[in-house]
Protein backbone atom coordinates (compact mmCIF):
# COMPACT_ATOMS: atom_id res chain seq x y z
CA UNK A 1 0.00 0.00 0.00
CA UNK A 2 1.33 3.46 -0.69
CA UNK A 3 1.34 6.21 1.95
CA UNK A 4 -1.72 8.02 0.64
CA UNK A 5 -3.75 4.80 0.55
CA UNK A 6 -2.66 3.96 4.05
CA UNK A 7 -3.75 7.44 5.26
CA UNK A 8 -7.10 7.11 3.50
CA UNK A 9 -7.61 3.65 4.97
CA UNK A 10 -6.97 4.95 8.48
CA UNK A 11 -9.51 7.72 8.02
CA UNK A 12 -12.06 5.31 6.57
CA UNK A 13 -11.59 2.95 9.50
CA UNK A 14 -11.94 5.87 11.95
CA UNK A 15 -8.46 5.26 13.28
CA UNK A 16 -6.54 8.27 14.55
CA UNK A 17 -3.75 9.93 12.63
CA UNK A 18 -0.76 10.23 14.96
CA UNK A 19 2.13 12.72 14.67
CA UNK A 20 4.57 10.08 13.35
CA UNK A 21 2.18 8.76 10.70
CA UNK A 22 2.56 9.96 7.15
CA UNK A 23 -0.04 12.58 6.27
CA UNK A 24 -0.68 14.75 3.22
CA UNK A 25 1.07 18.09 3.53
CA UNK A 26 -2.25 19.90 3.18
CA UNK A 27 -3.72 17.92 6.05
CA UNK A 28 -0.72 18.81 8.23
CA UNK A 29 -1.04 22.50 7.35
CA UNK A 30 -4.79 22.53 7.93
CA UNK A 31 -4.33 20.81 11.27
CA UNK A 32 -1.64 23.27 12.39
CA UNK A 33 -3.79 26.21 11.34
CA UNK A 34 -6.86 24.92 13.12
CA UNK A 35 -5.16 23.88 16.36
CA UNK A 36 -3.12 27.08 16.49
CA UNK A 37 -6.20 29.23 15.95
CA UNK A 38 -7.95 27.35 18.69
CA UNK A 39 -4.97 27.80 21.03
CA UNK A 40 -4.74 31.51 20.21
CA UNK A 41 -8.46 31.86 20.96
CA UNK A 42 -7.99 30.38 24.41
CA UNK A 43 -5.14 32.78 25.12
CA UNK A 44 -6.76 35.92 23.78
CA UNK A 45 -9.97 34.81 25.49
CA UNK A 46 -8.28 35.38 28.84
CA UNK A 47 -8.40 39.12 28.26
CA UNK A 48 -12.13 39.88 28.14
CA UNK A 49 -12.75 37.81 31.25
CA UNK A 50 -9.56 38.84 33.01
CA UNK A 51 -10.99 42.33 32.69
CA UNK A 52 -13.41 41.62 35.56
CA UNK A 53 -11.24 39.65 37.99
CA UNK A 54 -10.26 42.67 40.05
CA UNK A 55 -13.88 43.86 40.22
CA UNK A 56 -15.76 40.60 40.79
CA UNK A 57 -18.60 41.41 43.18
CA UNK A 58 -17.89 38.67 45.73
CA UNK A 59 -14.86 36.65 46.76
CA UNK A 60 -16.55 33.47 45.60
CA UNK A 61 -17.17 34.91 42.14
CA UNK A 62 -13.62 36.20 42.04
CA UNK A 63 -12.30 32.71 42.78
CA UNK A 64 -14.53 31.08 40.14
CA UNK A 65 -13.53 33.64 37.53
CA UNK A 66 -9.82 33.34 38.27
CA UNK A 67 -10.08 29.57 38.02
CA UNK A 68 -11.89 29.88 34.72
CA UNK A 69 -9.34 32.21 33.20
CA UNK A 70 -6.63 29.87 34.43
CA UNK A 71 -8.41 26.96 32.74
CA UNK A 72 -8.41 28.88 29.45
CA UNK A 73 -4.64 29.38 29.68
CA UNK A 74 -4.34 25.65 30.40
CA UNK A 75 -6.38 24.89 27.28
CA UNK A 76 -4.00 27.07 25.32
CA UNK A 77 -1.09 25.09 26.70
CA UNK A 78 -2.49 21.65 25.72
CA UNK A 79 -3.37 22.92 22.30
CA UNK A 80 0.03 24.48 21.62
CA UNK A 81 1.55 21.15 22.68
CA UNK A 82 -0.72 19.33 20.23
CA UNK A 83 0.31 21.74 17.44
CA UNK A 84 3.98 21.26 18.33
CA UNK A 85 3.70 17.54 17.55
CA UNK A 86 3.22 18.62 13.92
CA UNK A 87 6.64 20.22 13.80
CA UNK A 88 5.94 23.86 14.58
CA UNK A 89 7.43 25.65 17.60
CA UNK A 90 5.63 27.72 20.22
CA UNK A 91 7.72 30.76 19.31
CA UNK A 92 6.69 30.47 15.66
CA UNK A 93 3.04 30.18 16.68
CA UNK A 94 3.31 33.20 18.98
CA UNK A 95 4.87 35.16 16.18
CA UNK A 96 2.06 34.23 13.79
CA UNK A 97 -0.48 35.42 16.35
CA UNK A 98 1.34 38.66 17.05
CA UNK A 99 1.75 39.50 13.38
CA UNK A 100 -1.83 38.58 12.47
CA UNK A 101 -0.84 35.74 10.14
CA UNK A 102 -2.94 33.38 12.24
CA UNK A 103 -6.33 34.33 13.59
CA UNK A 104 -8.22 33.68 16.79
CA UNK A 105 -11.94 33.50 17.39
CA UNK A 106 -13.49 36.86 16.53
CA UNK A 107 -15.79 36.65 19.52
CA UNK A 108 -12.97 37.92 21.73
CA UNK A 109 -12.89 41.17 19.80
CA UNK A 110 -15.96 42.37 21.67
CA UNK A 111 -15.60 44.20 24.98
CA UNK A 112 -16.87 43.01 28.37
CA UNK A 113 -18.72 46.05 29.63
CA UNK A 114 -20.52 44.81 32.71
CA UNK A 115 -20.39 41.98 35.21
CA UNK A 116 -23.28 40.32 33.35
CA UNK A 117 -20.86 39.77 30.49
CA UNK A 118 -19.11 37.22 32.71
CA UNK A 119 -22.42 35.38 32.73
CA UNK A 120 -23.18 35.85 29.04
CA UNK A 121 -19.70 34.86 27.91
CA UNK A 122 -19.79 31.65 29.93
CA UNK A 123 -23.31 30.79 28.93
CA UNK A 124 -23.18 31.74 25.24
CA UNK A 125 -19.54 31.80 24.20
CA UNK A 126 -18.41 28.73 26.12
CA UNK A 127 -21.77 27.19 25.16
CA UNK A 128 -21.17 27.79 21.45
CA UNK A 129 -17.60 26.58 21.84
CA UNK A 130 -18.77 23.28 23.31
CA UNK A 131 -21.35 22.80 20.58
CA UNK A 132 -18.54 23.29 18.09
CA UNK A 133 -15.95 21.28 19.93
CA UNK A 134 -17.73 18.15 21.08
CA UNK A 135 -17.26 16.77 17.57
CA UNK A 136 -13.56 17.56 17.85
CA UNK A 137 -13.15 14.97 20.58
CA UNK A 138 -13.60 12.52 17.66
CA UNK A 139 -11.49 14.45 15.18
CA UNK A 140 -9.04 12.42 13.10
CA UNK A 141 -5.79 13.85 14.49
CA UNK A 142 -5.01 11.98 17.73
CA UNK A 143 -3.31 14.66 19.89
CA UNK A 144 -6.02 17.21 19.04
CA UNK A 145 -8.82 14.76 19.81
CA UNK A 146 -7.29 13.86 23.16
CA UNK A 147 -6.72 17.50 24.12
CA UNK A 148 -10.35 18.22 23.25
CA UNK A 149 -11.71 15.54 25.57
CA UNK A 150 -10.20 17.29 28.55
CA UNK A 151 -11.03 20.77 27.28
CA UNK A 152 -14.69 19.99 26.61
CA UNK A 153 -15.22 18.80 30.17
CA UNK A 154 -13.96 22.10 31.50
CA UNK A 155 -15.86 24.15 28.92
CA UNK A 156 -19.16 22.62 29.96
CA UNK A 157 -18.34 23.49 33.53
CA UNK A 158 -17.70 27.09 32.42
CA UNK A 159 -20.97 27.12 30.55
CA UNK A 160 -22.90 26.10 33.65
CA UNK A 161 -21.11 28.67 35.78
CA UNK A 162 -21.95 31.37 33.25
CA UNK A 163 -25.58 30.38 33.19
CA UNK A 164 -25.62 30.42 36.96
CA UNK A 165 -24.34 34.01 36.98
CA UNK A 166 -27.16 34.95 34.58
CA UNK A 167 -29.73 33.15 36.73
CA UNK A 168 -28.58 34.96 39.86
CA UNK A 169 -28.76 38.32 38.06
CA UNK A 170 -32.19 37.54 36.66
CA UNK A 171 -33.47 36.74 40.14
CA UNK A 172 -31.91 39.93 41.46
CA UNK A 173 -32.70 43.64 41.40
CA UNK A 174 -34.11 45.53 38.43
CA UNK A 175 -30.64 46.90 37.70
CA UNK A 176 -29.18 43.40 37.68
CA UNK A 177 -31.89 42.11 35.33
CA UNK A 178 -31.29 45.02 32.99
CA UNK A 179 -27.59 44.26 33.06
CA UNK A 180 -28.29 40.64 32.10
CA UNK A 181 -30.59 41.63 29.23
CA UNK A 182 -28.05 44.13 27.91
CA UNK A 183 -25.36 41.45 27.95
CA UNK A 184 -27.58 39.02 26.03
CA UNK A 185 -28.41 41.76 23.52
CA UNK A 186 -24.73 42.36 22.84
CA UNK A 187 -23.48 38.72 22.86
CA UNK A 188 -26.29 36.90 21.06
CA UNK A 189 -25.44 37.65 17.44
CA UNK A 190 -21.67 37.42 17.79
CA UNK A 191 -22.20 34.01 19.45
CA UNK A 192 -24.22 32.77 16.46
CA UNK A 193 -21.50 34.04 14.15
CA UNK A 194 -18.94 31.94 16.06
CA UNK A 195 -20.01 28.92 14.01
CA UNK A 196 -18.58 30.55 10.91
CA UNK A 197 -20.07 31.50 7.56
CA UNK A 198 -23.07 29.64 6.11
CA UNK A 199 -22.19 26.26 4.59
CA UNK A 200 -22.75 27.57 1.09
CA UNK A 201 -19.95 30.12 1.55
CA UNK A 202 -17.58 28.23 3.80
CA UNK A 203 -14.30 27.50 2.06
CA UNK A 204 -12.96 24.98 4.55
CA UNK A 205 -15.96 22.91 5.51
CA UNK A 206 -16.10 20.33 2.71
CA UNK A 207 -12.45 19.32 2.88
CA UNK A 208 -12.53 19.31 6.68
CA UNK A 209 -15.52 17.00 6.71
CA UNK A 210 -13.83 14.66 4.22
CA UNK A 211 -10.73 14.50 6.42
CA UNK A 212 -12.91 13.90 9.45
CA UNK A 213 -11.41 16.97 11.08
CA UNK A 214 -14.89 18.41 11.27
CA UNK A 215 -17.88 16.15 11.52
CA UNK A 216 -20.81 18.56 11.28
CA UNK A 217 -21.25 21.71 9.21
CA UNK A 218 -21.41 25.30 10.45
CA UNK A 219 -25.13 25.60 9.84
CA UNK A 220 -25.96 22.30 11.54
CA UNK A 221 -24.00 23.30 14.62
CA UNK A 222 -25.50 26.78 14.71
CA UNK A 223 -29.00 25.30 14.60
CA UNK A 224 -28.15 22.93 17.42
CA UNK A 225 -26.93 25.86 19.54
CA UNK A 226 -30.03 27.95 18.91
CA UNK A 227 -32.33 25.03 19.74
CA UNK A 228 -30.48 24.45 22.98
CA UNK A 229 -30.17 28.09 24.06
CA UNK A 230 -33.59 29.63 23.37
CA UNK A 231 -35.36 27.58 26.09
CA UNK A 232 -32.59 28.54 28.53
CA UNK A 233 -33.22 32.22 27.81
CA UNK A 234 -36.92 31.61 28.50
CA UNK A 235 -36.11 30.18 31.92
CA UNK A 236 -34.07 33.29 32.64
CA UNK A 237 -36.97 35.49 31.54
CA UNK A 238 -34.74 37.24 29.00
CA UNK A 239 -35.64 38.20 25.45
CA UNK A 240 -33.49 36.99 22.57
CA UNK A 241 -32.80 40.06 20.43
CA UNK A 242 -34.24 38.57 17.23
CA UNK A 243 -37.76 39.56 16.07
CA UNK A 244 -37.73 36.70 13.52
CA UNK A 245 -37.18 33.97 16.07
CA UNK A 246 -40.03 31.41 15.90
CA UNK A 247 -40.55 27.78 16.81
CA UNK A 248 -41.13 25.65 13.72
CA UNK A 249 -43.22 22.81 15.12
CA UNK A 250 -43.01 20.65 11.99
CA UNK A 251 -39.25 20.78 11.75
CA UNK A 252 -38.85 20.90 15.54
CA UNK A 253 -36.35 23.69 15.23
CA UNK A 254 -36.24 27.38 15.99
CA UNK A 255 -36.10 29.54 12.89
CA UNK A 256 -33.98 32.62 13.38
CA UNK A 257 -33.19 35.85 11.58
CA UNK A 258 -30.35 36.71 9.25
CA UNK A 259 -26.89 37.18 10.80
CA UNK A 260 -25.20 40.44 9.87
CA UNK A 261 -22.33 38.93 7.92
CA UNK A 262 -20.93 42.31 6.96
CA UNK A 263 -20.34 42.99 10.63
CA UNK A 264 -18.83 39.51 11.07
CA UNK A 265 -16.36 39.97 8.21
CA UNK A 266 -15.45 43.42 9.39
CA UNK A 267 -14.46 41.99 12.78
CA UNK A 268 -12.63 39.04 11.19
CA UNK A 269 -10.67 41.41 8.99
CA UNK A 270 -9.48 43.39 11.99
CA UNK A 271 -11.93 46.23 12.46
CA UNK A 272 -13.94 44.94 15.40
CA UNK A 273 -14.28 46.93 18.62
CA UNK A 274 -11.27 45.31 20.33
CA UNK A 275 -9.05 43.67 17.67
CA UNK A 276 -6.28 46.20 18.02
CA UNK A 277 -6.32 46.27 21.82
CA UNK A 278 -6.31 42.49 22.17
CA UNK A 279 -3.25 42.05 19.99
CA UNK A 280 -1.51 45.10 21.38
CA UNK A 281 -2.00 43.78 24.90
CA UNK A 282 -0.61 40.39 23.95
CA UNK A 283 2.36 41.81 22.09
CA UNK A 284 3.16 44.17 24.96
CA UNK A 285 3.11 41.34 27.51
CA UNK A 286 5.36 39.28 25.24
CA UNK A 287 7.82 42.12 24.61
CA UNK A 288 7.85 43.23 28.25
CA UNK A 289 8.64 39.63 29.15
CA UNK A 290 11.56 39.27 26.74
CA UNK A 291 14.22 40.06 29.35
CA UNK A 292 12.64 37.52 31.71
CA UNK A 293 12.71 34.74 29.13
CA UNK A 294 16.29 35.65 28.23
CA UNK A 295 17.34 35.51 31.87
CA UNK A 296 15.71 32.09 32.27
CA UNK A 297 17.51 30.73 29.20
CA UNK A 298 20.83 32.21 30.29
CA UNK A 299 20.48 30.80 33.79
CA UNK A 300 19.47 27.36 32.51
CA UNK A 301 22.55 27.31 30.25
CA UNK A 302 24.82 28.16 33.13
CA UNK A 303 23.16 25.65 35.43
CA UNK A 304 23.57 22.94 32.77
CA UNK A 305 27.29 23.64 32.34
CA UNK A 306 27.79 23.68 36.14
CA UNK A 307 26.09 20.28 36.36
CA UNK A 308 28.34 18.98 33.58
CA UNK A 309 31.40 20.26 35.40
CA UNK A 310 30.23 18.67 38.62
CA UNK A 311 29.54 15.38 36.84
CA UNK A 312 32.92 15.55 35.12
CA UNK A 313 34.57 16.26 38.45
CA UNK A 314 32.88 13.27 40.01
CA UNK A 315 34.07 11.03 37.16
CA UNK A 316 37.65 12.09 37.84
Amino acid sequence: MNLQDDFDARLAADRKIEPRDWMPEKYRKTMIRQIAQHAHSEIIGQQPEGNWITRAPTLKRKAILMAKVQDEAGHGLYLYSAAETLGVSRDELMDMLHTGRQKYSSIFNYPTLSWADMGAVGWLVDGAAITNQVMLTRTSFGPYARAMIRICKEESFHQRQGYEIMLTLCNGTEAQKAMAQDALDRWWWPSLAMFGPPDAESTHTAQSVAWKIKRETNDELRQKFVDMTVPQAEILGLTIPDPDLVWDADAEHYRFGEIDWDDFWQVVKGDGPCNRERIAHKVKAWEDGAWVREAAVEHAKRAASTTKLAAGGAAL
Binding site: T54, T58, G74, A175
Partner: protein, 249 residues
Protein backbone atom coordinates in the same frame (compact mmCIF):
# COMPACT_ATOMS: atom_id res chain seq x y z
CA UNK B 1 -12.53 44.22 68.15
CA UNK B 2 -11.21 41.31 70.13
CA UNK B 3 -7.49 40.64 69.80
CA UNK B 4 -8.20 37.31 68.14
CA UNK B 5 -10.46 38.91 65.51
CA UNK B 6 -7.79 41.52 64.83
CA UNK B 7 -5.17 38.81 64.49
CA UNK B 8 -7.27 36.75 62.09
CA UNK B 9 -8.09 39.79 59.95
CA UNK B 10 -4.42 40.76 59.69
CA UNK B 11 -3.70 37.44 58.01
CA UNK B 12 -6.90 37.36 55.98
CA UNK B 13 -6.10 40.80 54.59
CA UNK B 14 -2.49 39.91 53.68
CA UNK B 15 -3.83 37.12 51.53
CA UNK B 16 -6.72 39.01 49.97
CA UNK B 17 -4.64 42.01 48.98
CA UNK B 18 -1.86 39.97 47.43
CA UNK B 19 -4.46 37.88 45.57
CA UNK B 20 -5.98 41.09 44.24
CA UNK B 21 -2.57 42.25 43.03
CA UNK B 22 -1.91 38.91 41.31
CA UNK B 23 -5.37 39.04 39.75
CA UNK B 24 -4.34 42.26 37.99
CA UNK B 25 -1.64 40.36 36.13
CA UNK B 26 -3.63 37.66 34.44
CA UNK B 27 -2.96 37.53 30.70
CA UNK B 28 0.00 39.89 31.09
CA UNK B 29 2.83 37.56 32.07
CA UNK B 30 6.01 36.83 30.06
CA UNK B 31 4.73 33.44 28.90
CA UNK B 32 1.80 31.09 29.13
CA UNK B 33 3.27 29.01 31.96
CA UNK B 34 3.59 32.14 34.10
CA UNK B 35 0.04 33.19 33.24
CA UNK B 36 -1.13 29.88 34.63
CA UNK B 37 1.15 30.13 37.65
CA UNK B 38 0.07 33.64 38.60
CA UNK B 39 -3.58 32.58 38.58
CA UNK B 40 -2.72 29.50 40.55
CA UNK B 41 -0.82 31.35 43.28
CA UNK B 42 -3.45 34.08 43.35
CA UNK B 43 -6.18 31.50 43.83
CA UNK B 44 -4.29 29.90 46.71
CA UNK B 45 -4.00 33.24 48.49
CA UNK B 46 -7.63 34.04 47.82
CA UNK B 47 -8.56 30.65 49.27
CA UNK B 48 -6.47 31.28 52.37
CA UNK B 49 -8.05 34.71 52.78
CA UNK B 50 -11.51 33.17 52.62
CA UNK B 51 -10.67 30.61 55.29
CA UNK B 52 -9.43 33.34 57.62
CA UNK B 53 -12.52 35.49 56.89
CA UNK B 54 -14.77 32.53 57.66
CA UNK B 55 -13.22 32.30 61.04
CA UNK B 56 -13.31 36.08 61.46
CA UNK B 57 -17.01 35.94 60.75
CA UNK B 58 -17.55 33.56 63.67
CA UNK B 59 -15.55 35.84 65.95
CA UNK B 60 -17.21 39.05 64.82
CA UNK B 61 -19.96 40.43 67.09
CA UNK B 62 -21.75 41.64 63.94
CA UNK B 63 -21.16 38.32 62.12
CA UNK B 64 -19.94 40.12 59.03
CA UNK B 65 -19.33 37.66 56.19
CA UNK B 66 -16.31 37.46 53.89
CA UNK B 67 -17.76 39.92 51.39
CA UNK B 68 -18.61 42.45 54.04
CA UNK B 69 -15.06 42.25 55.31
CA UNK B 70 -13.63 42.56 51.81
CA UNK B 71 -16.02 45.05 50.27
CA UNK B 72 -17.40 47.20 53.08
CA UNK B 73 -14.27 48.18 54.96
CA UNK B 74 -12.28 51.25 54.02
CA UNK B 75 -8.57 51.83 53.73
CA UNK B 76 -8.04 52.56 57.44
CA UNK B 77 -9.75 49.32 58.44
CA UNK B 78 -7.60 46.96 56.40
CA UNK B 79 -4.88 45.31 58.46
CA UNK B 80 -2.53 43.81 55.89
CA UNK B 81 1.19 44.50 55.97
CA UNK B 82 2.27 47.25 53.59
CA UNK B 83 4.33 44.77 51.52
CA UNK B 84 1.37 43.09 49.84
CA UNK B 85 -0.30 46.29 48.65
CA UNK B 86 2.80 47.39 46.71
CA UNK B 87 2.15 47.56 42.96
CA UNK B 88 3.13 44.71 40.67
CA UNK B 89 5.74 46.82 38.91
CA UNK B 90 7.77 44.70 36.53
CA UNK B 91 8.16 40.92 36.72
CA UNK B 92 11.14 41.28 39.07
CA UNK B 93 9.14 43.37 41.52
CA UNK B 94 6.21 40.95 41.41
CA UNK B 95 8.45 37.96 42.09
CA UNK B 96 10.40 39.71 44.83
CA UNK B 97 7.21 40.76 46.62
CA UNK B 98 6.03 37.17 46.36
CA UNK B 99 9.34 35.77 47.58
CA UNK B 100 9.44 38.03 50.65
CA UNK B 101 5.87 37.11 51.49
CA UNK B 102 6.49 33.39 50.96
CA UNK B 103 9.67 33.42 53.03
CA UNK B 104 7.56 34.86 55.87
CA UNK B 105 4.43 32.75 55.42
CA UNK B 106 6.18 29.38 55.41
CA UNK B 107 7.59 29.66 58.94
CA UNK B 108 4.51 31.59 60.07
CA UNK B 109 2.11 28.84 59.03
CA UNK B 110 4.46 26.12 60.23
CA UNK B 111 4.37 27.64 63.69
CA UNK B 112 0.63 28.30 63.49
CA UNK B 113 -0.14 24.62 62.92
CA UNK B 114 0.89 24.17 66.57
CA UNK B 115 -1.58 26.83 67.77
CA UNK B 116 -3.85 25.93 70.67
CA UNK B 117 -6.62 27.44 68.60
CA UNK B 118 -7.94 24.53 66.54
CA UNK B 119 -9.28 26.74 63.75
CA UNK B 120 -5.98 28.52 63.22
CA UNK B 121 -4.14 25.20 63.34
CA UNK B 122 -6.44 23.74 60.67
CA UNK B 123 -6.30 26.78 58.35
CA UNK B 124 -2.51 26.93 58.52
CA UNK B 125 -2.08 23.18 58.03
CA UNK B 126 -3.60 23.54 54.58
CA UNK B 127 -2.00 26.90 53.85
CA UNK B 128 1.52 25.80 54.68
CA UNK B 129 1.59 23.30 51.83
CA UNK B 130 0.63 26.02 49.38
CA UNK B 131 3.13 28.45 50.88
CA UNK B 132 5.97 25.95 50.48
CA UNK B 133 5.13 25.50 46.84
CA UNK B 134 4.95 29.27 46.35
CA UNK B 135 8.33 29.71 48.01
CA UNK B 136 9.87 27.10 45.76
CA UNK B 137 8.62 28.94 42.69
CA UNK B 138 9.45 32.46 43.81
CA UNK B 139 12.94 31.55 45.05
CA UNK B 140 13.67 29.85 41.74
CA UNK B 141 12.72 33.06 39.96
CA UNK B 142 14.77 35.25 42.27
CA UNK B 143 17.79 33.05 41.54
CA UNK B 144 17.12 32.94 37.79
CA UNK B 145 16.81 36.69 37.58
CA UNK B 146 19.65 37.44 40.00
CA UNK B 147 22.03 35.05 38.26
CA UNK B 148 20.57 35.48 34.77
CA UNK B 149 21.61 38.41 32.57
CA UNK B 150 22.97 41.83 33.61
CA UNK B 151 19.55 43.29 32.81
CA UNK B 152 17.66 40.84 34.99
CA UNK B 153 20.21 41.24 37.77
CA UNK B 154 19.74 44.99 37.72
CA UNK B 155 15.96 44.71 37.80
CA UNK B 156 15.81 42.23 40.66
CA UNK B 157 18.32 44.31 42.63
CA UNK B 158 16.09 47.35 42.23
CA UNK B 159 13.13 45.28 43.39
CA UNK B 160 14.98 44.32 46.57
CA UNK B 161 15.86 47.89 47.25
CA UNK B 162 12.30 49.08 46.73
CA UNK B 163 10.51 46.33 48.65
CA UNK B 164 12.83 45.69 51.58
CA UNK B 165 11.38 48.38 53.90
CA UNK B 166 7.86 46.99 53.39
CA UNK B 167 8.96 43.46 54.22
CA UNK B 168 9.79 44.75 57.69
CA UNK B 169 6.08 45.41 58.26
CA UNK B 170 5.40 41.67 58.17
CA UNK B 171 7.11 41.42 61.54
CA UNK B 172 5.11 44.09 63.32
CA UNK B 173 3.86 42.96 66.70
CA UNK B 174 1.77 44.71 69.32
CA UNK B 175 -0.38 43.64 72.26
CA UNK B 176 -2.45 41.52 69.90
CA UNK B 177 0.37 39.21 68.84
CA UNK B 178 2.15 39.32 72.14
CA UNK B 179 -0.92 38.60 74.25
CA UNK B 180 -2.17 35.81 72.01
CA UNK B 181 1.30 34.33 71.66
CA UNK B 182 1.61 34.15 75.43
CA UNK B 183 -1.58 32.10 75.58
CA UNK B 184 -0.40 29.75 72.79
CA UNK B 185 -2.85 31.01 70.17
CA UNK B 186 -0.83 33.32 67.93
CA UNK B 187 2.65 33.16 66.47
CA UNK B 188 4.99 35.84 67.76
CA UNK B 189 6.44 37.30 64.52
CA UNK B 190 9.83 37.63 66.21
CA UNK B 191 10.08 33.83 66.29
CA UNK B 192 9.50 33.71 62.52
CA UNK B 193 12.19 36.25 61.71
CA UNK B 194 15.28 34.00 62.00
CA UNK B 195 13.88 31.51 59.46
CA UNK B 196 12.90 34.37 57.18
CA UNK B 197 16.40 35.86 57.44
CA UNK B 198 18.01 32.49 56.75
CA UNK B 199 15.85 31.90 53.66
CA UNK B 200 16.61 35.36 52.34
CA UNK B 201 20.35 34.95 52.97
CA UNK B 202 20.36 31.59 51.25
CA UNK B 203 18.40 32.55 48.16
CA UNK B 204 20.12 35.92 47.80
CA UNK B 205 23.51 34.19 47.94
CA UNK B 206 22.55 31.95 45.00
CA UNK B 207 21.15 34.97 43.20
CA UNK B 208 24.26 37.11 43.70
CA UNK B 209 22.19 39.65 45.61
CA UNK B 210 23.15 41.29 48.84
CA UNK B 211 20.81 41.61 51.77
CA UNK B 212 20.17 45.31 52.42
CA UNK B 213 21.67 46.58 55.66
CA UNK B 214 19.28 49.53 55.96
CA UNK B 215 17.26 48.78 59.09
CA UNK B 216 14.42 51.16 58.12
CA UNK B 217 11.03 49.46 57.88
CA UNK B 218 7.81 51.08 56.75
CA UNK B 219 5.48 49.86 59.48
CA UNK B 220 1.82 50.66 59.98
CA UNK B 221 -0.22 48.32 57.81
CA UNK B 222 -1.29 46.16 60.74
CA UNK B 223 -2.98 49.15 62.36
CA UNK B 224 -4.47 50.59 59.19
CA UNK B 225 -1.75 53.13 58.41
CA UNK B 226 -1.10 52.13 54.80
CA UNK B 227 0.88 53.37 51.87
CA UNK B 228 -1.05 55.40 49.32
CA UNK B 229 -1.34 52.40 46.99
CA UNK B 230 -4.08 50.68 48.97
CA UNK B 231 -6.42 53.61 48.42
CA UNK B 232 -6.34 52.85 44.70
CA UNK B 233 -6.64 49.10 44.96
CA UNK B 234 -9.73 49.08 47.19
CA UNK B 235 -12.05 51.31 45.14
CA UNK B 236 -11.46 49.12 42.11
CA UNK B 237 -12.05 45.90 44.03
CA UNK B 238 -15.17 47.24 45.76
CA UNK B 239 -16.72 49.27 42.93
CA UNK B 240 -19.32 46.83 41.66
CA UNK B 241 -20.32 45.55 45.08
CA UNK B 242 -20.73 49.06 46.41
CA UNK B 243 -22.71 50.24 43.37
CA UNK B 244 -25.49 47.78 44.20
CA UNK B 245 -26.05 47.83 47.97
CA UNK B 246 -27.77 44.70 49.22
CA UNK B 247 -27.70 42.87 45.90
CA UNK B 248 -27.01 39.16 45.67
CA UNK B 249 -24.41 37.98 43.19
Amino acid sequence: MSPLLTYVLRHADDNLIVAQRLGELIASMPDLEEDIAVANVGLDHLGQARHFYDYASELDPDSRDEDQFAMERSEREFLNATLVEQPNGDFAQTQMRQFLLDAYQVPLYEAMTASDDARLAAISAKAVKEARYHLERSSAWVVRLGAGTPVSHEKISQAVEYLWPYAGDLFYADDVEEGLAASGVAVDPATVRPTFDATVADVFASANLSVPDDPYARMGGRTGFHTEHLGHLLPEMQSLYRAHPGATW
